[in-house]
C-alpha cells in the first residue's frame, strides 16, 4: 500500500491533481474534468494498468500533417470562438493525440549533464512562469479586480477576439503541436 502511494506521487500526477483542485476552487468544471481525467490516465500508466499502444510512433506523411493543420486552422479561424465547430475540432484532436503519444517508450541513451541542466532550467522557467500567473490570479481575487492583476487569459481574451490575434494564436498553437508530437518526433 505504502509502495503504491509512493509510486502515485509521479510529478505529473501531482501537477494535474493540483490543477484539478485549483480549478475546482475556481469553479471551472471543464478544467476539473480535463486535468482530473489526465491525472487518472497518468495513474493508469504509473501502475501499468493500461499499456496498449503502437510499438513505435506511427509515421504520418507530411501531406497528411499539412492537410490536418490547414483544415484545422481554417475551421478554427473562420468559426466563432467558444462555438460548436471549435469544440468539434478540439475533440477531433483527442484521438489524433492518442495515436501520436500512446506508443511504447523507445530506448534512449542516458542524459548528459547538459541535458539534465537544460531540463532543470526549463522546468524552473515553466514553474516560475506558472507562479507569476498564479500570483496574478490570486491578486485579482483578493482585490476583486482583474484589471489590476491581469492573468494571461484576461490579457489574451480581447486579442483573440480580433482576426489577427486569433490567426496568430491558431498558427502558433498548431505549429507547436506539430513540433512536439508530429514531424520532429519522427526523426
Amino acid at each position: 500500500m505504502k509502495q503504491h502511494l509512493v509510486r502515485s506521487f509521479n510529478p505529473w500526477v501531482v501537477v494535474f491533481v493540483g490543477m484539478a483542485l485549483f480549478h475546482a476552487w475556481r469553479g471551472s468544471v471543464q478544467d476539473i474534468v480535463i486535468f482530473g481525467g489526465a491525472a487518472l490516465l497518468i495513474l493508469t500508466q504509473v501502475f501499468g494498468l493500461y499499456s496498449l499502444g503502437f510499438k513505435r510512433q506511427p509515421t504520418v506523411s507530411i501531406a497528411a500533417i499539412s492537410a490536418t493543420v490547414m483544415i484545422s486552422a481554417a475551421l478554427l479561424y473562420v468559426s466563432p470562438r467558444h462555438g460548436l465547430v471549435n469544440f468539434l475540432v478540439l475533440i477531433a484532436f483527442v484521438p489524433i493525440g492518442y495515436l501520436l503519444v500512446m506508443h511504447q517508450d523507445r530506448a534512449h541513451p542516458l542524459p548528459s549533464k547538459e541535458d539534465l541542466r537544460g531540463r532543470l532550467t526549463w522546468a524552473i522557467w515553466a514553474a516560475a512562469f506558472a507562479l507569476v500567473e498564479l500570483v496574478a490570479y490570486l491578486g485579482s481575487k483578493i482585490v476583486g479586480d482583474l484589471s489590476v492583476y491581469p492573468t494571461i487569459s484576461v490579457l489574451l481574451d480581447p486579442v483573440l477576439d480580433t482576426s489577427i490575434g486569433r490567426a496568430t494564436f491558431v498558427a502558433l498553437w498548431l505549429i507547436s503541436g506539430v513540433y512536439l508530437f508530429g514531424v520532429r518526433r519522427r526523426r
Binding site: D115, R119, A136, L146, I152, W173, L180
Partner: protein, 70 residues
C-alpha cells in the same frame, strides 16, 4: 509603472527568458542542451508525452472553446 503594466512586463520577461534559453541551447550547447534535444529525451517517456499533449490541448481548449471563468 503601474501594477498591471508591471505584471504584463513580467509575462513578457518570461517570454524573453524562454527565447534566450532556446538561443543559449543552440549557440552554447556545452552550457545547456538545445531544446530539441531535451524534448527528444523527455518525449521518449510515455507519461511525459501524455502530460505535454494534455497541456498543449488544454491551451487550445481554454482559449478557443472554453469561456474564462472570472
Amino acid at each position: 509603472m503601474t501594477l498591471p503594466q508591471l505584471i504584463v512586463f513580467g509575462y513578457l520577461f518570461f517570454v524573453a527568458i524562454g527565447i534566450a534559453l532556446a538561443a543559449i541551447g543552440r549557440l552554447k550547447p556545452e552550457v545547456i542542451s538545445p531544446l530539441g534535444q531535451i524534448l527528444n529525451f523527455v518525449m521518449s517517456h510515455r507519461i511525459t508525452r501524455i502530460a505535454l499533449f494534455v497541456v498543449w490541448w488544454w491551451l487550445g481548449w481554454h482559449f478557443l472553446v472554453g469561456v474564462t471563468v472570472r
